[in-house]
């Protein structure tokens, strides 16, 4: 009896296996920097529109738990690619982690101090006397001292409360804090979802903080061993970003199709629309996404060494942190 069952199961499995296509698409795992929000729309859009499949890639998108955690996962080869804050990745790379950025997407920083519009905090001077919610040692808190320096503020001008990501949001929503440090398209939209009220963001980039932000990162050994796959992935991602730029609502909808609890369509769309201007600097205005300039990267490294606590030896070779070699050339 048992032998009969075993024989039949073996036959079924063998038949199933022989029906599978001989060469399947490459399975690729992309780990995001955080739980999904508007900024991630292009990846979901590219997957939904078959842009990745057209390059022979079967993409799986995983939500992350912070750029630091995702960077470690990619360095340990637990994920093939990561979408993280590149300065955070630099911190790990300078300590010997085998990781590099294969494409820098946000060439202007989305970091900002944000609070309800009704609180009327529009300029840095308005921050005096207020309470700011931060997460210790995350990417924004590390650059916050530079923002204070550039705007003439001192730590004693305001109160600080510390907590994790959820606590920061709760603090502003419930009035325990007036502002929080976050990305202009992330927490602002979550707060709007929860309360229906608009949020105003004071962007660090408006006060002379010129640094890159999110980009695609990969393990350096993985890149060397799979150069063709990396090229195809970056080509598909570039096309996905370009397609999403033209169809913001559709891109936001693709997030909800993959992840029905990922947010609300209006705020996801608004969040993505806030991200698009960050893709380029005046120097790269007419270029395709990801084509970051060497000057921008060098400026970022210098800023990170001076204020971000990055090891000074990073200045010796900024090019070690990124490569544009795997990006598609021209209009392909």
């Amino acid at each position: 009896m048992i032998r009969t069952i075993a024989a039949i199961s073996a036959a079924l499995i063998w038949t199933a296996l022989s029906v599978l296509p001989a060469s399947a698409a490459d399975k690729v795992v992309l780990m995001l920097n955080w739980y999904v929000y508007g900024e991630h729309a292009p990846f979901y859009y590219g997957k939904a529109k078959g842009i990745y499949a057209a390059e022979g890639i079967d993409l799986e998108i995983q939500e992350g738990r912070g750029s630091a955690a995702t960077t470690q996962a990619v360095a340990a080869k637990t994920a093939n690619f990561g979408y993280v804050d590149v300065p955070t990745m630099m911190r790990a790379a300078v300590k010997g982690a085998p990781i590099t950025a294969t494409g820098v997407l946000l060439q202007t920083s989305p970091m900002s101090a944000m609070g309800f519009v009704e609180k009327n905090i529009k300029k840095p001077e308005d921050i005096k006397g207020k309470t700011v919610a931060i997460t210790p040692a995350d990417s924004m808190t590390q650059i916050w001292p530079l923002f204070l320096k550039k705007t003439g503020l001192k730590e004693s001008d305001f109160q600080t409360v510390a907590g994790d990501g959820q606590t920061k949001l709760n603090a502003v929503i419930n009035g325990q804090a007036d502002l929080l440090l976050g990305y202009v398209m992330d927490q602002s939209m979550k707060i709007k979802d929860a309360t229906g009220k608009d949020v105003n963001a004071i962007k660090f980039a408006d006060y002379g903080i010129n640094m890159v932000c999110s980009g695609i990162v990969a393990n350096t050994e993985f890149v060397k061993a799979n150069a063709d796959l990396v090229k195809r992935f970056m080509s598909a991602t570039t096309k996905a970003v370009e397609a999403a730029e033209k169809d913001a609502k559709g891109a936001a909808q693709s997030i909800l199709d993959a992840n029905p609890k990922g947010g609300k369509i209006e705020t996801l769309t608004q969040g993505f629309e806030l991200t698009i201007p960050l893709y380029r600097t005046p120097e790269t205005k007419n270029k395709r996404p990801f084509q970051v300039t060497d000057q921008n990267m060098t400026d970022t490294v210098n800023l990170m060494v001076e204020y971000g606590g990055l090891d000074a030896k990073a200045k010796d070779n900024p090019k070690a942190f990124y490569t544009n070699d795997y990006l598609p050339q021209g209009g392909s």
């Binding site: 210790p136 040692a137 995350d138 510390a162 907590g163 606590t167 603090a171 325990q176």
Partner: protein
Amino acid sequence: MAELKRESGVSKALNAAWVRPFLFLLFIVVVWDLTIRLFQIPAYQIPAPGDVVAVLWTDWPELLRQAWPTTYATICGFLLSAVFGIPVAMLIAGSKTVESYVYPLLVFSQSVPKIAIAPLFVVWFGFGIIPKVISAFLLGFFPVVVSAVQGFKSVDPDMVDLARAMQGSRFRVFCAVNLPHAMPAIFSGLKVSITLAVVGAVVGEFVGSNSGIGYVLQRSIGTFDLPTMFAALVILALLGVVLFWVVDRIERLVIPWHVSQRDDIIFAS
């Protein structure tokens, strides 16, 4: 005639209570270091024990300073667990009605992951020591109640009847019979609870705090400073050990008569 066996100096030293775990710890550290060297594990994945010791050596004033808020929150939370847990256990053990209503809900609530609701404590009680204390209390409450219920229920009913037959009032019988009989179980629950209270205090700090070892942990994770992170973990572990030992000493004072407190005396003839 019975004589005490004379122990040699070395075996006397080996038998001292703290030496053996210390030697074992040393062994683990050596294995850890060898593993890193053998498998060439990079520093950003696991720090070398030497680096962790270096951080402990150079940063110990700062780490000690940060350990105080965590210790304070742990002890407050633990005391709350004890103060609320033991009376609740008395009620549950004393009344079948109370037990049938309360006990299943208590077990149900234990399965709710505290880290998920910790942010709500900050919303309700603000930033400060209270969310940390509540977090420590919630984690330490259940072991105290379960062990105390077990202790109160295991009192020999014949003893109680005997005491009551000798005209003992309910209260005096409770103090003389029920409570001492339940003490060993209560203390075992308290020992588990204090180590969990440390975890609770750190969870509270992760979620909303400007100080404490949880804050140091969070900060070092964000900057990929693994030696400091491991140093903070060592401090937390030491905190748990010290507090456990304190509860153990108090147990020795309160129930010196219990069989678990008897020392071995070696006789040789």
